[in-house]
C-alpha cells in the first residue's frame, strides 16, 4: 500500500492559506519563528476528528475562499471560524468529519464569525519537515510546500491512513468564537501574566492598560496584533534586545500595545508588559480589525494550571461517533 498519495488539487487558494503542524521548536536561538496554528484549540479538534495525532499537518485558512478537488477517497474535518462549506454543492457541518471521494469538490466559503479555520485530512497532509516541522512561516520563507501560502494549481499529498469513523464534537465542547470578521462584535478579554518590564511602566499607565478597551487595528497578522487605544507607553527608552515569548505584549514609543503571536521575531528591544496566556491568544486570532479587547491579570500559578487543565479537559472529551 502506498504511504503517500496525491490528496487534493488547489482550485482556489483564498487570501492566505498556510500548511501548519504544531510548530517549529528549538530553533528560535537561530532566529526561526515557531509558526504553528494561531488558534491551537480549533486545530487540535480538526486533528482529533480525523483520527490523527495532534501534531499532524493541516491547512490554516484565513477568511475562507478555498476550493479543492479531491484526488483520493478520504476523510476531512473543518473547525474554527464559521463559514459555509460544501462538498459538490451540498452543505456540510463544521466540527465533524466527512467522507470525501475522488473527484469531489470541496468549497470553503467566506467567514461570517471568526477569521481562521482549520482543514485536516485523515493521516495529515504530507509535507517535508524542515528543522523538524512543516509549519509555514512566510516571513522566514520556510515550511509548507515552498515557504509561502498555498497557490492555485498546487497538489497536496496526504499520508495514507485507512479511513476511520465519522466523528463529531458536541456543541458544548466547541470553543466559543465570538468575534466577527466584520468587527463590532462582542468584547473579548485577554488574561495577561505581568512580567518583563511590567514594573517599569508608570502605575497610572498600568491602571489605564487594565481599565481601557482597545480595538484591533488593521495591522493584525500571524506575527502579531497591533491594538489601538489610550497611550500606555512606559517612558523606558531603548532596552537591549531580549527573547520574546509567545503572547508578549510590547509597547513601542507610540504607546499602542502589540500582542506578539506565532510568527513574531525572536528577539526585540521594546518594553513589554508581560504576556497573554495561549488559551486567549487563540481567541484573539479569531478577531478582525475593530474588535474590542480588554485585559485582566492572571497569576503565574493560575496561568500554568490553566494549560494543564485545558489539556486534560480536551483529552478526556469523547467525540460522538456518527456511524460504526
Amino acid at each position: 500500500m502506498l504511504k503517500v498519495l496525491p490528496g487534493f488539487k488547489i482550485i482556489q487558494a483564498g487570501p492566505q492559506s498556510v500548511l501548519q503542524d504544531d510548530g517549529r521548536f528549538g530553533y528560535q536561538r537561530l532566529g526561526f519563528a515557531n509558526g504553528g496554528p494561531l488558534d491551537a484549540e480549533s486545530y487540535y479538534w480538526a486533528q482529533r476528528l480525523c483520527g490523527n495525532n495532534t501534531t499532524a499537518t493541516a491547512i490554516e485558512i484565513l477568511l475562507g475562499g478555498v476550493v479543492l478537488e479531491a484526488l483520493a477517497d478520504t476523510v476531512i474535518a473543518i473547525t474554527g471560524a464559521e463559514m459555509p462549506v460544501t462538498i459538490n454543492g451540498e452543505r456540510i457541518s463544521l466540527w465533524q468529519s466527512h467522507r470525501i471521494n475522488t473527484g469531489d469538490k470541496l468549497e470553503v466559503g467566506f467567514t461570517s464569525v471568526g477569521l481562521r479555520s482549520y482543514l485536516a485530512v485523515s493521516g495529515g497532509f504530507n509535507v517535508p519537515d524542515i528543522l523538524g516541522s512543516s509549519a509555514t512561516v512566510i516571513r522566514d520563507e520556510i515550511g509548507g510546500l515552498d515557504g509561502k501560502a498555498l497557490q492555485v494549481g498546487q497538489l497536496l499529498n496526504i499520508n495514507n491512513q485507512l479511513s476511520h469513523k465519522i466523528l463529531m464534537l458536541a456543541k458544548s465542547s466547541r470553543p466559543k468564537i465570538k468575534a466577527s470578521s466584520a468587527g463590532g462584535a462582542a468584547e473579548i478579554e485577554l488574561r495577561l501574566l505581568p512580567g518583563y518590564q511590567f514594573e517599569r511602566f508608570p502605575e497610572e499607565k498600568r491602571q489605564l492598560f487594565f481599565s481601557s478597551t482597545f480595538r484591533v487595528s488593521n495591522r493584525c497578522d500571524r506575527m502579531g496584533y497591533c491594538l489601538n487605544g489610550p497611550d500606555v507607553s512606559s517612558g523606558v527608552s531603548s532596552l537591549l534586545s531580549e527573547g520574546i515569548c509567545h503572547g508578549a505584549v510590547q509597547v513601542p514609543p507610540d504607546g499602542q500595545p502589540i500582542v506578539l503571536l506565532n510568527d513574531r521575531q525572536t528577539i526585540g528591544g521594546y518594553p513589554k508588559l508581560g504576556s497573554v496566556v495561549s488559551c486567549d491568544t487563540g481567541k484573539l486570532a479569531q478577531c478582525g480589525p475593530g474588535s474590542r479587547i480588554r485585559f485582566s491579570k492572571i497569576s503565574v500559578r493560575q496561568a500554568h494550571s490553566e494549560i494543564l487543565l485545558a489539556s486534560e479537559r480536551r483529552e478526556r472529551t469523547l467525540l460522538i461517533s456518527l456511524n460504526s
Binding site: 521548536f25 528549538g26 530553533y27 528560535q28 536561538r29 537561530l30 532566529g31 526561526f32 515557531n34 524542515i130 528543522l131 516571513r139 522566514d140 520563507e141 520556510i142 501574566l193 512580567g195 518583563y196 537591549l240 534586545s241 531580549e242 527573547g243 520574546i244 515569548c245 509567545h246 503572547g247 508578549a248 521575531q265 525572536t266 528577539i267 526585540g268 513589554k272 508581560g274 504576556s275 496566556v277 495561549s278 503565574v300 496561568a303 500554568h304 490553566e306 494549560i307 494543564l308 489539556s311
Partner: protein, 224 residues
C-alpha cells in the same frame, strides 16, 4: 543574575543592564549548563546580549523548578571552561558591492580602503541572533565606522550584504528589507534550514572578516 517569569511556560534571566563580553559569556555558559540539566524539558532557549529566555514544556516542569535550574546553571559556571570558536568570513568590499562604504569613509575622513582595513582589524563577538533567521549581531566595530541606521530602510538588501549600524556589524543571511549601511558582500552561506546544523555561527562565537577580490568571491559561490 535576576530571574523573572515572563509567560505561562517561560522565564527570563537578566545578567546585567549593559552588554559586555563578560556578561554575554555568562549568558552563553548558563545556557550551555541549562541544556545539560533541563534536557527535554526545554522547548526553546533564546540567548541574547545580556539575557536568556527559557521556554519550557509545561507538562514536564514548572516555573519554580526552572528558577532553581537557572540558579544552579549560573552558579556552576566555570570561567576556565570558556570555549572560543572563531569563524572567518570573506568579504568583497567596495562601493560597487556595498553602496554606503563611500559615505562612511567620507564621514570618517578616511578612504574606502581604510574602512575595509578597520572593519577587518577586530574580532567581533556574536552577541545575539534574531531579526531574521541567521542574522547575527556582531560587535563592537571601531568608533570611526559607527554609523546610524538609514532614515528610510531599503526595500531589498541583497543576500550576503555586509552591513554596519551604530557600533554593530552583520551579514544579511538572505534578501530582506533593511536599514543598515552596506559596505560589501560575503559569499558564505550563513543559514540553510535543510542542513542538520543550519548555521555555522552561534551566540558567543567570534567572527573575523577577511578581504577577498571579485574572482575569489565568485569562486566561493558569491553572486553578483
Amino acid at each position: 543574575m535576576r530571574v523573572e517569569d515572563t509567560g505561562e511556560n517561560s522565564v527570563i534571566a537578566w545578567f546585567a543592564d549593559k552588554a559586555s563580553v563578560e556578561v554575554n559569556e555568562s549568558v552563553v555558559a548558563t545556557c550551555r549548563n541549562l541544556e545539560q540539566s533541563m534536557g527535554d524539558t526545554i522547548i526553546d532557549l533564546v540567548p541574547s546580549y545580556a539575557s536568556l529566555l527559557v521556554v519550557f514544556d509545561p507538562f514536564k516542569t514548572h516555573h519554580a523548578e526552572v528558577h532553581e535550574w537557572l540558579s544552579a546553571a549560573f552558579e556552576s559556571i566555570n570561567p576556565t571552561e570558556t570555549i572560543t570558536k572563531v569563524i572567518e568570513l570573506p568579504v568583497l568590499y567596495g562601493e560597487a558591492y556595498g553602496p554606503d562604504i563611500k559615505r562612511i569613509a567620507d564621514n570618517a575622513g578616511i578612504t574606502e580602503f581604510q574602512v575595509a582595513q578597520l572593519h577587518q582589524s577586530i574580532e567581533y563577538r556574536v552577541y545575539a541572533i534574531g531579526f531574521a533567521p541567521g542574522f547575527a549581531y556582531l560587535g563592537e566595530i571601531d568608533l570611526k565606522l559607527a554609523t546610524p541606521r538609514l532614515e528610510i530602510p531599503r526595500q531589498n538588501v541583497p543576500k550576503g550584504a555586509v552591513a554596519i549600524a551604530d557600533r554593530q556589524t552583520a551579514v544579511y543571511p538572505s534578501e530582506s528589507p533593511g536599514g543598515w549601511n552596506l559596505i560589501g558582500l560575503c559569499p558564505t552561506r550563513l543559514i540553510d534550514p535543510t542542513e542538520k546544523l543550519p548555521m555555522p555561527i552561534a551566540v558567543g562565537d567570534w567572527v573575523r572578516f577577511i578581504e577577498i577580490d571579485e574572482a575569489q568571491y565568485l569562486n566561493l559561490g558569491g553572486e553578483l
